[in-house]
Amino acid sequence: MSPLRRIAVANADALRARHSDLFDGVLARRLTAIAVVVVLAALAALAVWRLDVSLARFGSGLVQIANIVGAMFPPTPGTHLVVFLHALAETLAIAFLGTLIAAAIAFPLGLLAAKNVIPNVFAHFAVRRLLDTVRGVDVLIWALIFINVVGLGPFAGILAIAASDTGSFGKLFSEAIENADRKPVEGVVAAGGSALHAVRYGLVPQVVPVIASQVLYYFESNTRSATIIGIVGAGGIGLHLAEQIRVLEWGQVAFLVLLILVTVAVIDWVSGRLRFAIIGRSTVGAG
């Protein structure tokens, strides 16, 4: 027994009395935690019951899945290889332009929505609610809206992604800016810098790595989204995917899915390299 433990044991009662708050509340806290878990489980059970989630139905459906997977082999482009590749390029272009436009619009909005940049409550409250509203509408809904505005095709897809991600980026950017360290800003202001200087030299260098990795992730995510909005007619590979599913050409569906999978993996790899190049390896390694 170490000397410290001997002292603790010898004074156990006195210690307990002096710090009763650290021992007494424990049971109550534990019961609260258990109650929270029970309530969550009950809510989940209620949802399962009300939404008619049936394992039996899922079980019989599994056979159907097996049939479909069987029909997917071998994956084949059929006679549409060039068309598919062209559509894939279109999807990539939609994702790229949509993400770029969203980031460009969201950056100033993110600054306006950050409490440490705009101390005025009304200003950043207004910008935040605007971003919430834009974000509240899903990309698929934006796609349907823009198809009615500019007609079917990739342009509608670009606008849909740009609109929906402006909301997401605005929120993420403003949070990254608010999490930034205040000390560099103080350094710039103390040297006689204006508010704009404080943003340019105090905040932006801190948030650029965060923003860059978010934008790169969204480019990858949007490549997948662009597939979905293609299904409703906003251009890209999704249109072909929906069509092949409709005509039950499972081999071609499998080929398209693999094509998208490979593309996303490549983007992921490239963006990982880019991210390291921007952040600099030193901050990631042991330092």
Binding site: L4, R5, A8, V9, N11, A12, L15, H19, L22
Partner: protein, 271 residues
């Protein structure tokens, strides 16, 4: 007894530590001194095995520490507590939980992961906090404490590990003079009171001379001095610290002089 034999660590081409050999008796208070980049931190971190040696051996009471892996390694780390320059507390957790972290290698995993710490261990943690007069802060978040208080929490965490040796890596480099005293006194008390060996990296030669029984001087990764503080003459200290020596051999008489060219002074006066 801690025995270090030919301990070496390379980072690429850089020899952070090369061929360090020494032995530390149980209950000693040993200061490791030297300028920044001399390899002091790497040496201490190798003993806790936070950094793996490139060559050489560490033995403790005959056991080969360099060969340990898995749960044996965790048991060794429990016995060789670390104290860091930046305290390395979990800022968002309360002080008591931070100190209980010192029990993490001993308490069953299901208990520590669920946060169900045994009352006995809580008592030990509180007793350690009382040793350093910070028990009233037990329920506060660690990040809300001052630097001196945080370092005392870190020392309490180390003490609660019931270690056989404490490795303190520049424990006072981030503290003001008053807290420097408080923290060094705390380490000294652990050493004398509980008989725990202390191996402490220090920047300041004055502090090292005041507190340590023995000094190990490092320069450019090599051990260049090993002996009692009185044996470390100013000339030897200058060898260890090189150009920095005037800043380290402090005292009012040697306060640094401004080093401005005459012309610059003239301009400043004119402006």
């Amino acid at each position: 007894m801690l025995v270090v034999e030919g301990l070496t660590r390379r980072f690429g081409n850089l020899h952070a530590v090369s061929g360090a050999s020494f032995a530390v008796e149980r209950g000693a208070f040993v200061g490791v001194i030297g300028p920044s980049g001399a390899g002091k931190s790497t040496l201490l971190r190798m003993i806790n095995r936070l950094v793996d040696p490139s060559a050489g051996r560490i033995r403790f009471d005959g056991q080969d520490v360099t060969a340990l892996t898995g749960s044996d390694l965790r048991r060794w780390r429990r016995r060789a507590a670390m104290i860091f320059q930046q305290f390395n507390l979990v800022g968002r957790l309360d002080v008591l939980t931070n100190v209980l972290m010192g029990r993490i290698a001993t308490v069953p995993a299901w208990r520590s992961l669920a946060g169900l710490w045994p009352d006995d261990d809580k008592l030990v943690a509180l007793s350690a906090l009382e040793q350093f007069d910070i028990a009233p802060l037990a329920a506060r978040r660690a990040e809300h404490l001052s630097g001196g208080q945080q370092q005392r929490v870190a020392i309490a965490r180390a003490l609660v590990q019931e270690p056989e040796i404490i490795l303190a890596d520049e424990p006072i480099a981030s503290l003001d003079p008053r807290n420097t005293r408080v923290v060094m006194d705390a380490l000294l008390r652990i050493n004398k009171h509980f008989g725990i060996t202390v191996l402490c990296n220090l920047h300041s030669l004055d502090i090292a001379r005041a507190y340590c029984d023995r000094l190990i001087g490092m320069a450019a990764g090599r051990i260049v001095f090993d002996g009692a503080p009185v044996a470390l003459t100013d000339a030897l200290a200058r060898d260890i610290y090189g150009l920095d020596s005037d800043q380290v051999l402090d005292g009012a008489a040697r306060a640094p002089q401004p080093d401005l060219p005459e012309a610059a002074l003239g301009e400043a006066a004119a402006a």
